[in-house]
């Protein structure tokens, strides 16, 4: 190793150590704000950011409908994330990120494909929320067999359908939260949890708001079971078994399709880098041989 290499190595190493020391010191600084400052900040503070308050207005002025993002944000919020965000906020954040890229394109005269980056940056916040929403949807689907089992066991032990759902609402996780919201709304309103005649029950209504097929079906099944009387526990057990069978076939299908699912990341993370590793030195060696 020559002297310059050693110097470079030492500089980078020292820079890394120095930044770690700064990070460590900053992380350990604790300061107490005075009571006056704390009260003032609480009173003057806002519940949401400028993006969330004014984004919707900007979108409306531009004549853009943000309806398609509403359900995605609703699901992400069901999982306890992005609680202060609005669809307008997503739009405004995307616009801000895209504007940053556009400014950079003009400032540094970036090539034409940099506009693609602006487009990606515009959709980045919505994609981030979609990823969270998809995860929560998946968790809800995954929780259905176990939750149905708990409800079936409660009903088999003599509880009514309403009591069983109240118990299931105590389960941790997003499905427990969805059920708990429905239960608390049924308690607060004068309407029943289950459908009676022409009036739709709160449970079906609340669960349908999520626009998830599996959840809708589950709500309707629970609604029908509640009207069955003595036969209800037996039917509920059948429903729970059906959901377990469905989960089994889903797992079988996923296992069978695993190769296809992994193809894209495999190409992106291994095949492409491998090709680059092989080709770059080769091209450089050949070009230097002919130059």
């Amino acid at each position: 190793m020559d002297n310059i290499q050693l110097q470079r190595f030492l500089v980078i190493l020292l820079a890394a150590i120095a930044s770690w020391v700064v990070y460590y010191i900053v992380g350990n600084i604790a300061y107490e704000k005075s009571a006056v400052i704390r009260v003032r900040q609480m009173i003057a503070g806002r519940t949401s950011t400028i993006f969330d308050r004014d984004g919707q207005k900007v979108a409306a002025k531009l004549g853009i409908s943000l309806k398609s993002w509403e359900n995605t944000l609703f699901w992400a919020q069901t999982g306890g994330s992005y609680l202060n965000w609005t669809v307008g906020g997503i739009f405004a954040r995307g616009l801000l990120l895209a504007s940053g890229v556009v400014i950079a394109i003009f400032l540094f005269s970036l090539p034409i494909f940099a506009w693609l980056l602006a487009l990606i940056m515009f959709f980045l916040p919505s994609l981030q929320i979609r990823a969270t929403a998809d995860l929560i949807r998946k968790q809800v689907r995954r929780l259905l067999p176990e939750t149905a089992t708990v409800i079936a066991a409660e009903m088999d032990a003599g509880s009514t359908a309403g009591q069983a759902i109240e118990r299931a609402a105590e389960l941790p996780g997003p499905l427990g939260k969805i059920l708990s919201d429905a239960v608390s709304q049924a308690r607060q309103s004068n309407r029943g949890m289950f459908s009676r005649g022409q009036s739709t029950g709160i449970l079906v209504e609340k669960l349908e708001e999520h626009r998830l097929n599996e959840l809708n079906r589950f709500a309707m099944q629970l609604d029908r079971v509640a009207a069955k009387g003595v036969d209800a526990p037996r039917i509920m057990i059948e429903i729970a078994r059906g959901l377990a069978r469905e989960y089994r076939s889903h797992v079988q299908q996923t296992a069978a399709n695993m190769d296809t699912e992994l193809l894209m990341p495999m190409t992106l993370f291994f095949f492409l880098p491998f090709m680059i590793v092989v080709l770059v030195p080769l091209v450089i060696t050949i070009s230097s041989a002919f130059s």
Binding site: R8, M42, E154, I237, L262, F269, V277, I284
Partner: protein
């Protein structure tokens, strides 16, 4: 030496500038991204955030680190974060040395291995937890089928759980959790421990969570009626678990295939880099960048794909 000092001053200047940017960003974020009501009230009353998951509980970040190190018979309890940071540093040095000595990159470019080491250490801390959750899920059907009959003979829930956990793999994670957490907390706090235990069980697995919830109901209500309902529910849970075990086997096979591909790719990379034909090309900064970047992408890719496989099932 003076050249080195100048470089050092530049580096320190950069750090100072970065710190100023951080302070400025913090101030700006106070204006643009104002805090939520809850954090403002907490801030006003001077309350400190209480942690949702305690370090002693299963599933806490500290527990995951302890678990990752226990695989190598290293006890890091009480010093989890320090141990993880040391592991990151150590792993970073190992990967950097490998890039330098095995692949033949110059020392400066080999420092890309520090990022690779960081990713590997983080992956180690999380993969141990995923493996343990899988091992617990595999044993749930065995426990459930035995417990439903044991509870008919011995109606004391804690005794039945302790007795039935003896059938499980000695020192296995489910036996450990049932004895160290369920039975111990149950003895200490009585039925009120169920709330904490259900949360902890759901962090490990949905099925374990549902199982503990049902055991909790059995404990609270008692009676033969609930024992029969529990037997019915456990038959259902066993069905779900069978599917899950099948999924775990498929995901393990997929992870194995990914590892083989990484191994083969690495061997080819080493052979190429050591080839005398490419010796001059290896001095080119672009080639060094490609080799360093590729190593990081592959390590990141393995972590990404492992998580993706777990999420798919």
């Amino acid at each position: 030496m003076s050249e080195l000092l100048i470089k050092l001053v530049v580096v320190l200047g950069c750090i100072a500038a970065a710190y100023l940017a951080f302070l400025l960003g913090e101030k700006l974020s106070e204006v643009i991204l104002s805090p939520r009501i809850t954090s403002r009230v907490k801030d006003m009353v001077g309350a400190r955030d209480t942690r949702k998951v305690l370090a002693s509980q299963w599933g806490s970040p500290e527990f995951k680190i302890r678990l990752a190190f226990s695989k190598y018979r290293i006890n890091v309890s009480g010093h989890e974060n320090l141990a993880l940071n040391l592991a990151r540093l150590g792993m970073g040095l190992v990967v950097s040395l490998a890039l330098w000595l095995v692949v033949g990159l110059p020392p400066t470019a080999s420092l890309a291995g520090m990022i690779g080491g960081l990713l590997i250490a983080n992956l180690m801390a999380t993969s141990g937890w995923a493996e343990m959750c899988g091992a617990i899920e595999r044993e749930i059907p065995i426990f459930l089928s035995g417990f439903t009959s044991t509870i008919q003979v011995n109606p004391n829930v804690l005794q039945a759980v302790e007795e039935e956990s003896g059938v499980l793999e000695v020192g296995g994670p489910l036996q450990k959790w049932l004895r160290e957490r369920f039975v111990r907390l149950g003895q200490e706090q009585g039925v009120s421990a169920m709330e904490e235990l259900i949360l902890e069980a759901f962090r490990i697995s949905n099925s374990l969570g549902a199982m503990v919830f049902l055991i909790g109901r059995l404990w609270r209500t008692g009676g033969m009626e609930w024992a029969r309902s529990f037997a019915l529910a456990s038959t259902n849970l066993e069905g779900v678990m069978e599917a899950r075990i099948m999924g775990l086997a498929a995901s393990n096979a997929a992870k194995g295939a990914v590892k083989v591909i990484i191994g083969v790719t690495l061997v080819v990379v080493v052979i190429l880099s050591r080839n005398p034909l490419f010796t001059s090309a290896m001095n080119n900064p672009l080639v060094q960048l490609v080799y360093g970047g590729t190593s990081i992408i592959m390590i990141f890719g393995y972590g990404y794909m492992s998580k993706m496989i777990d999420k798919l099932i």
